[in-house]
Subunit: 398 residues, 2 copies
């Protein structure tokens, strides 16, 4: 048997064997294979309600255009169709933020965007809060970047502040509202990070995938903060707001002001994208435009409010049983301390076996997540009602 004489990229050996959610899916499938029946899935943060009517209509009607001799479209324009970039610029205007169309790059998902963007910088160190969405650290490692973790805990509300007395320039990954803890930086908290980035010459990769869940006093865009345009890139997604986990549409905002040693970051990203990416389809971009229309936004917000009310109900239940938890206010996730001092994995197994409920073990989001657990509130409301019944009977919560 022949073998390549090329080495495998050494970075893979530094990662866990499976991506976190691949592993959650694998364990769920194994459980079902062994035990049969159904489970309630509050694990992977996948939306549960269909696309709203305005969005579906835009998607289907643009799909039909693709079969028409005159209206058919070839390669999408680099960076996105002007109609969608304009809609995104208007979205920012609604937040009081001025962004130019050319600063917006439409992509096929925040995961792709956020895991690729560091390619425009030289090898450096990533600063990653812990626990957090595993893609930041995993993709940094794959790129050959060092990773420094900043531990979240109950006393800092899983929202660690910038490290003191450390002025090393880095790529700082911030996710607010946070996945998994549900914490969210207020204006002052975000200003502290922006000032820290400015003073250290760092760049912030701001993941705003959950911005639609942000309530009163929580910025939806990092660019609501003074100085952010000189040190931040923002990643946004239609996945959680408009139910696009399947359709795949996102955007990155790269301010023209952002420079590394005289080089405009936007020029590097434009070159990277034109070389390695061919854009997002016309029907999906039309669907995204519809999600940002007044009617689409009303419809999307209706669904978001169901997810938020799911979170309130789960939070109220856990509160009534004296379980420490956070999140659920500005986010679709509940982050709870595992009962009976169980490890994250033990509780995962226990909850699955006792209640047939799948969650996500907190240690999958980083070592500071050990002993904690994430419940996703992306579920139909009747499913959450059933989950609450099962949790009510669960030996862990008596």
């Amino acid at each position: 048997m022949n073998e390549l004489r090329l080495p495998a990229a050494g970075e893979f050996a530094l990662l866990k064997k499976n991506y976190l959610f691949t592993e959650v899916r694998r364990k769920t499938a194994a459980f079902l294979e062994e035990n049969g029946g159904e489970v309630i899935n509050l694990g992977v943060g996948d939306v549960a309600y269909p696309l709203p009517p305005a969005v579906t209509e835009a998607l289907a009607s643009a799909s039909l255009e693709m079969g028409d001799n005159v209206r058919f479209k070839g390669y999408p324009p680099e960076g996105g169709y002007p109609f969608l970039r304009r809609a995104i610029v208007s979205y920012y205007e609604g937040l009081g933020v001025k962004i130019k169309e050319e600063e917006v790059f439409v992509g096929d998902g925040a995961k792709t965007d956020v895991s690729s963007f560091a390619e425009v910088f030289g090898r450096t160190e990533a600063l990653v809060t812990d626990p957090v969405y595993p893609v930041y650290a995993d993709s940094s490692v794959l790129l050959g970047n060092a990773v420094k973790f900043l531990r979240g805990n109950k006393s800092n509300g899983f929202l660690p502040p910038p490290p003191r007395g450390d002025d090393k320039p880095r790529i700082i990954y911030l996710c607010s509202p946070n996945n998994p803890s549900g914490g969210a930086y207020d204006r002052a908290g975000l200003k502290e990070w922006v000032d820290y980035a400015l003073s250290t010459g760092s760049v912030i990769f701001f993941d705003a995938a959950y911005s639609a869940f942000a309530g009163e006093g929580i910025p939806r865009s990092v660019f609501e903060t003074d100085g952010a345009k000189e040190c931040c890139v923002e990643f946004c997604s239609f996945s959680k707001f408009a139910g696009f986990t399947n359709l795949r549409c996102s955007w990155v905002t790269v301010p023209e002001e952002l420079k590394c040693r005289k080089t405009q970051v936007i020029a590097l990203w434009r070159r990277r994208q034109s070389t390695k990416f061919n854009g997002v389809s016309y029907p999906v971009q039309r669907a995204a435009e519809a999600a940002l229309s007044p009617e689409g936004r009303r419809e999307c917000e209706k669904t978001v409010s169901i997810y938020k009310s799911n979170a309130e109900r789960i939070s109220a239940f856990l509160g009534s049983r004296g379980v420490w938890h956070c999140g659920g206010k500005n986010s679709p996730y509940i982050w709870l301390e595992c009962p009976e001092r169980l490890s994250s994995e033990e509780f995962f197994d226990g909850l699955l076996n006792n209640c047939r409920i799948v969650g996500t073990p907190g240690n999958g989001f980083g070592s500071a997540g050990e002993g904690f657990f994430r419940l996703s509130c992306f579920a139909r409301e009747e499913v959450v009602a059933e989950a609450l019944e099962r949790l009510g009977d669960c030996p862990y919560f008596r």
Copy 2:
């Protein structure tokens, strides 16, 4: 004004300022801005006919499912929906090739796939034929890989054979049928490359994006060659065959047999994709499935045959004027020697100014392409008729 203290990735400085087709689009737009009117675009290889009815119907009907409470889908499964992976396996069966469903990874475009795959290997050298699709060299450079070019020329039909007396293991990028020259390896030519890869421990990245244009005696898959499963990865696309340049759908075939020093390449790619990619939408995968159905294939082949007949007509014209050219038989591209010993760029400007026809300068595909020029035959037949009239009157071809 604040500047990041991070360096820009040094690799960008090694590339031309703009990606080739960005540059072609930019020059075309500048010409139209200055001169007004219209041009005939035979530059970027973008399809000109709409999606066939079977494909459009599948796309639109799956789009409507996304608005339905029951049929709605969330995250697509990693690697692609089973229905599409099965259809791809059947496609291979039609070529006499046995591929397993798990060896097929559905992606959002061959550009994305082929520019990412080298991430699973350690830093190495890329072997790139010249002239060729610029993404191979550009993405290798961005990844930090060295690039060795293998010069094509008139005497090797722009299909260079493996280098003799050189047993260095490398990533070998092959595109057959070739973009831009239209040359295509026959069975013997491909066998020579596979044997070379096996003997040097190299991996072949086989870009089969134009396989639908391959005629008699030209393999459509590298896996038609003995031994290929131990040294090849294959990149396929729905773009040119089924008119998906807008929709974005592709696949990569990674044989389980492919190993680098005891590590299965397929396991690395799976980890890479689950970390950095979230798949292709359900409507687009349903459309791709329809393109591979018997009805869809008949419809797609009808369009392909129009592009092929465009190529025949352009080739016949050039032949009648004694212009050296190749391609157009197994490919949608004509590769011609610039008349009057003009450079590629001079001819680009001359053709644009004299005939208002946009092509692609050959030097954009590599230095061995200097003095040559690519005409794309992806155009409506009436557009090609008009182009031929203009070429007939063109001072270069008298």
